[in-house]
Symmetry: C2
Subunit: 151 residues, 2 copies
């Protein structure tokens, strides 16, 4: 793998949002990732940079406020040039470690069922698919609901 | 005012997301409001219903994980038929009360500078504009940064 991992901070937002639409093949992803996640969930969010300080990946997650056993991963992005490098896996590992230290025993996340690469990646990380929920994130927005036990 | 206020819960999500695009004049707001907010921030989020149980307004907010003094309001919607009824003001009041009980002394939120009605509404609630931040939520997404001291 390549890249240095550190906690995300608000000043990372501009760089992330610049890249995110391009990394998603031109889709407008910015509305899903407002700056609030970089301001209020720093301790459970991470960025990875290469040796020249260029952003290569990030993970945005948080501790559930409702369920003290649970943590949630909202958004993960890896630069196309760094896919397959292991940096995504490493970001998830850092998140699992931090939230376990906060007493969380379960991590949840969702992905689109058409994104087979994402489904396979999550399964390889130990996530189990609970079900595919129709219209989960709004009309037409089906999601695979993943959960991983940490303990 | 009209409407009963209670905490939002995950089963409210479908109804909210059905209405939200229409309430915003046809804009696609759903990507800004994934279901995660209804699952993980129940205790600081609210819905208001009329006497027939119809959804008339909602507020989604959370306690900052980074700053133990701070809470944040992400999204507030009021049905066009209920604007001017005071229900929005009442939702903010419930949020202020709940987060003050959690030890928070400051509430932040952002709005678009072109939305003069929203700017005036927040000022009438005691929010102070810190500044207008260019490209705050991504390219072209300028925001007025509001803060309100609770203590």
């Amino acid at each position: 793998m390549s890249g240095q991992i550190r906690h995300a901070n608000p000043s990372d937002y501009g760089r992330v949002i610049q890249h995110v639409n391009a990394w998603w093949g031109g889709r407008d992803m910015a509305p899903m990732l407002p700056k609030l996640f970089f301001l209020h969930f720093e301790g459970t969010s991470f960025v990875a940079e290469d040796d020249e300080g260029k952003l290569v990946a990030f993970l945005i997650g948080f501790l559930s406020q409702t369920d003290p056993e649970e943590a949630y991963i909202h958004f993960v992005g890896v630069a196309p040039s760094h896919r397959g490098s292991g940096i995504g896996r490493e970001l998830y590992g850092r998140f699992f470690e931090v939230v376990a230290n906060e007493g969380r025993t379960r991590v949840r996340c969702v992905t689109s069922p058409v994104n087979e690469g994402s489904v396979a990646f999550h399964e390889s990380l130990g996530f189990v698919s609970e079900r595919v929920a129709e219209d989960y994130d709004g009309p037409g927005q089906d999601r695979v609901l993943f959960v991983k036990q940490l303990a």
